[in-house]
Amino acid sequence: MKQTGIATKIILLACGIALLLMVVGCVLMVQFEIELLNNLTDKKVEEKENFYLYRLYQEKKVLNEQLTDQVNNLITLMKSVDVIYDQTFEFQIHSLLMHPMVVAAEFCDEKGYSFLAAWKSKTVQTAQRFPKTLSLKKYKMINKQTGIPSIQHIRLFFTIEKIQQQLQILKEKDINELHETRNNIYNKLNILFLTQSIGSLFVVALLGATLIFSLRWLILKPIHDLMQIAKQLKKLDLSVDITPKMASHELNSLAQALGQLLEGFRKIIADVKENANMLSGSADNMTDIAEQLTNQSEEAESKANIVAEASVQISANIHTIATSVEQISDNMEAVSSTSDYLFNNINSVANAIEELSSSLNHVGERAQNGTEIADQAVLLAAKAGKTVNTLRHAADEIGGVSEFIQRIAHKTNILSLNATIEAASAGSAGRGFSVVASAIQEFAEQSSRAAKDITDRIASVQKGTYEIENVFKDISAIIKEMNESSDSISFAVIEQTKAVQEIASNALEADERARNINVSIEELSRTVNDAADNTAQVAMGANDVSTRIQGVSESISFNRQISHQINETAIVLNHLSGNLKCMVDPFKVSQQSKIKQQQ
């Protein structure tokens, strides 16, 4: 693409310009033709219009003559008749209006006043004169003097509108035809333009193709060969041979000159390359030696550093040990005082617990007493309940007895009544018995009343005993509950007592232990103080060692720096020689080396 690029571009540009010019020429030509056609058409239209104006004038003239003839005919007719009736006038005026162009007619007397008029509105209408609403100014008029005494003037109004309209239609038709023909010509011109442009395009394309082909064959091929060689040179390959195959034109002489230049270059670069290789080898050796020296000195420095750090760390560690030992000593003192306080507290707790134990014993005894009393109360309540029960039974029995007494009283009452009846039937002889009977009756009533009294009282006694029984039951239940709760209290107290005794014994033991702890803590405190003193001394010695080792490390470090500088210099040298080699290396001097590289 790149090779054909320039030629194609030039050709395409030339072809484009030619095409543009052709198209512009075409357009201008067509424009000129169209203008010509338009002028022609306008002229024709003008001619037509003139022709029609002339025709209109002719037509008008003919009509005028025609109508005048008609009126003259009418006048001769009238003159030939002796007597003229009104009907005759009317008939005549109607006959005048029969002509399609006539709009209105009027007959006037000698003074010029009309006595009969007719006009066309939708139909023909007649009157003595025209109404005022009818305006006849726009119409043409023929005024004729007859010389007949009854009719002096005849006025006739007629129109030429219809003729005008017909002529107009004809004219428009002609003009339209003209325009149509013009449009047809336009279309034909367009087609012509299209075919012209396509043809020119085809010609231009043919021209362009031949141009491209010849350019490629004659100029681009040698240039392409030269470019191949230049590409190899670009890769710094100096081993190319340039032999002038093409003998004919200017490009060949350019190729020969290029070949001579290459030969010179090739020799110089080969020399430089050899020298650079040697320099590079010696610089490499030097760099290796310097690196070894640096490595060794670095190792020595790192080791010395490690020793120094270790000594510093040891010193720091010993120092921290010393401080922590001091802290321990302080803490031990605090612990000792705390343990003293603890010991005192435990002592007082033990005392309090002993007191609690003794008071709990007392409570237990009381609870036991309460339980016993409650047991007795339960027994007594049960006994009382039984007694009340027997009382209730006795009352029931008494109730039965009193009922029996009452029944006896009733019977006695009946008996006494019957006795009274018997006594009454016996008359005066039974009078004495009657008294006795009434006395018996009275006794019976009294005994009945007494029995009733007893029954009531016994009932109230029964009610009372029933209530007492219920109350005793409640009391007994309450006492039972009391008994149970006091039982549980006494059990709990016993348990508590046991627990408290255990606590007391534990507290005593704790007391003893606390005392022991106190003593040992004091001893420990003393020992720790000694240790603190010793560690401080050790720390000081360690510090001294550390500072000395640091001095050694510093001197080693100085050595390392010097060796490092040497190493750096060697590296710079090596780098320079490498650079030179790199610069020279890409130049390929011989075909052999090229083959080697390819391999």
């Binding site: 009544l417 009846i421 009454a424």
Partner: protein
């Protein structure tokens, strides 16, 4: 027969100027019958019902082998009926009053002895001409006895059986 007996019994009592009544209570009212008409008072009553009998006849009762008819005096006196209870008693009448019958009363009272002058009898002839609306009741009622604190209505035992017939 009955009339003659009644006359003789009244004639006997007049010179004595004192009369005895067996009193009883019925629906809060005090009633009395002549003690000479009463034969006996019975307290334990075992009634045997008579079917198809009028409701005034409570039934038969067996007293020492003799069967007596028992009437409900409450119904005869136009009170509402009442069940038998502990205080209920049966008055048995003499055979000269009617053939072996008695009446049920609510409660028995005392035997009362009153002077003849305290009793006011009703005249039957006057009653007939008057309003005969409550005919039977007026027939059973013989008179009124004035006691110290209350009035005792005296009933005619001889009319009881007749009253049952009239109710039919």
């Amino acid at each position: 027969m009955r009339n003659i007996n009644n006359i003789t019994s009244e004639k006997k009592k007049i010179p004595e100027s004192k009369r005895q009544f067996c009193s009883f209570q019925m629906a809060g009212h005090y009633f009395g019958v002549d003690i000479l008409d009463v034969k006996e008072i019975i307290d334990e009553v075992v009634l045997t019902k008579i079917h198809h009998a009028p409701p005034e006849m409570l039934g038969f009762v067996n007293i020492r082998g003799h069967v007596h008819l028992v009437l409900d005096l409450r119904l005869l006196l136009n009170f509402s009926t009442k069940s038998i209870d502990e205080a209920s008693r049966v008055l048995l009448f003499h055979p000269n009053v009617g053939e072996s019958f008695g009446v049920m009363v609510d409660q028995i009272g005392h035997m009362i002895e009153v002077e003849e002058r305290l009793i006011e009898y009703r005249v039957s002839e006057e009653n007939i001409s008057g309003i005969a609306r409550d005919f039977r009741k007026s027939e059973l009622e013989k008179g009124v006895c004035k006691l110290k604190d209350k009035l005792l209505i005296i009933l005619d035992a001889t009319k009881f059986l007749h009253a049952v017939d009239l109710k039919r």
